[in-house]
Symmetry: C2
Amino acid sequence: MKERFLRAARGERTDRPPVWLMRQAGRYLPEYRELRADNTFREAISTPDVAEEISLQPWKRFGVDGVVMYSDILVALEPLGLEYHIESGVGPVVENPIREPADRPVERTPIDESLDYVGELLTRLAADVGDEAAVIGFAGGPFTLASYAVAGRPSRSHVPVRGFRAAHPEAFADLLDTFADVVTDFVQYQVDHGADVVQLFDTYAGLLGPADYEEFIVPVHQRILESVDVPTIVFVRNMAGRLDQLRASGADVVGLDWTVDIGVARDILGDRPVQGNLDPSYLLGDPDFVAERTRDLIERAGSAGHILNLGHGIDRRTDPKAVEAFVKTAQSIDR
Amino acid sequence: MKERFLRAARGERTDRPPVWLMRQAGRYLPEYRELRADNTFREAISTPDVAEEISLQPWKRFGVDGVVMYSDILVALEPLGLEYHIESGVGPVVENPIREPADRPVERTPIDESLDYVGELLTRLAADVGDEAAVIGFAGGPFTLASYAVAGRPSRSHVPVRGFRAAHPEAFADLLDTFADVVTDFVQYQVDHGADVVQLFDTYAGLLGPADYEEFIVPVHQRILESVDVPTIVFVRNMAGRLDQLRASGADVVGLDWTVDIGVARDILGDRPVQGNLDPSYLLGDPDFVAERTRDLIERAGSAGHILNLGHGIDRRTDPKAVEAFVKTAQSIDR
């Protein structure tokens, strides 16, 4: 329910935790695989008819409290003229990667031209779900966008962009700024088209050391997250040792990956709402195991300001029965 | 120098920090690439003539204080009959992976049969370097071995073995125990053949959540590390938020990845010696940048109980000039 989601995002007490799953519209669902059989990934996300149906599938099946738009964290590369496609068995491949500082994109097309399909999708989803669920928009964060833009493809530990930071510190900062500009406009565009909440996925920024994170990442996250008026969520992996830097992003809700003890996080973050953080691999266990671990997590998280989620995207090998156990456990709480 | 290395490992003050680099004998060195041209990786590590020369290359070139044996973290799979090879562009591929609890290996060959080439290599290295450097042996840790054994190949975020933990918790614990038995014997074998210090690389165990790490990993690390009489080093990535669990391993020296602030680590770990932790991607910057960052790190680490290293293995794209700047900066300290 939308109201439950927004209450938790404001840090208020809820009858039970609102629940959704990162990457909930995805390959673990047979109805998703069926729809995707006729479309490439890029076609599916940019065709509102298809993306709408896919976005709604987990809501129809499980009754989650949030409907996340079916899209990709890298679409914000497009307004900058960075073309990419998904290569089977590889992942995203950028056709014109940034190898040198001089390659930094300077021109950009307006969001409502290059990413108009996202606006159309959100408008539809908002009409579809009404007050029954929160519509969740999202964007990849500057580091994550820069990583793919520089490496041109998935890279182990994102070494190419980190090497770019070492070799060209000023150009690296400029690049993050460029992406932050686009993302700032993009999340505002999402809000204008019906997103009730937006999540910034700078999933890999935690591969920077603490000093680099403070210098390069915190300022751009602040700029993006403070610019919108709806509740915001930040998600970065590998931040267990520096939750203060996640809090400093200014996000209303701090996303926790599964390597953080949620009780410890609560102690550090005070009354800042949190989202997470069941180990996604637990959903490869049987439903009883999932239910038991989920109950334990909900209890440790407390009754105010907690949005139940996984600690990372759901794995495609997950049995929908495990997801059902996860969601139903949340729905069975009454406090 | 061996004595400098051992003093730091005991937590004593040293005139300057001893220095070596994880994966220092590797592809970034032209003399390594030349030697490897005629041998597969598995041939190179199991042929003492070749492995000896490769192990000594970085010592001859840079004068590092530690000579790490040229080997692989997965060789401890062999005594259990888990055959693997390195597939170009993929990484290690296990031919008979463990898919089900029933696949757990029960028979093993003695270390001095299946891994006799490691003993031979260490004996030679100890004779080669005398008191001029510490000879460093190492082994992959139980989680890392289990991950490759279960997944059969490199896997994103090591999901297969984590799913095995969720689906078969008891078999997972048994599997870790089995690997811990082998690794315990293997590190003792290394010490018997001349290793002055041994490092346990359970690089990916930090992908378990804190409760799982406490339950499954800490006990096996303790068992392995408390069994040997020479100084031990533990290395696990993604532990910045739970350095206490690394300390609990019983290792004499706590290895730090580059996402930990070494000053913060010192505060948490007290007088426990540490190793690390320059961001390996910094070595993709120019030598001045490397030198400046290295000096800063040495200063923040303090003058006792610090072994200078990177926070992860060196990247193959590194220019040897950057390594030279790193090592020379350590060698230029006189305190």
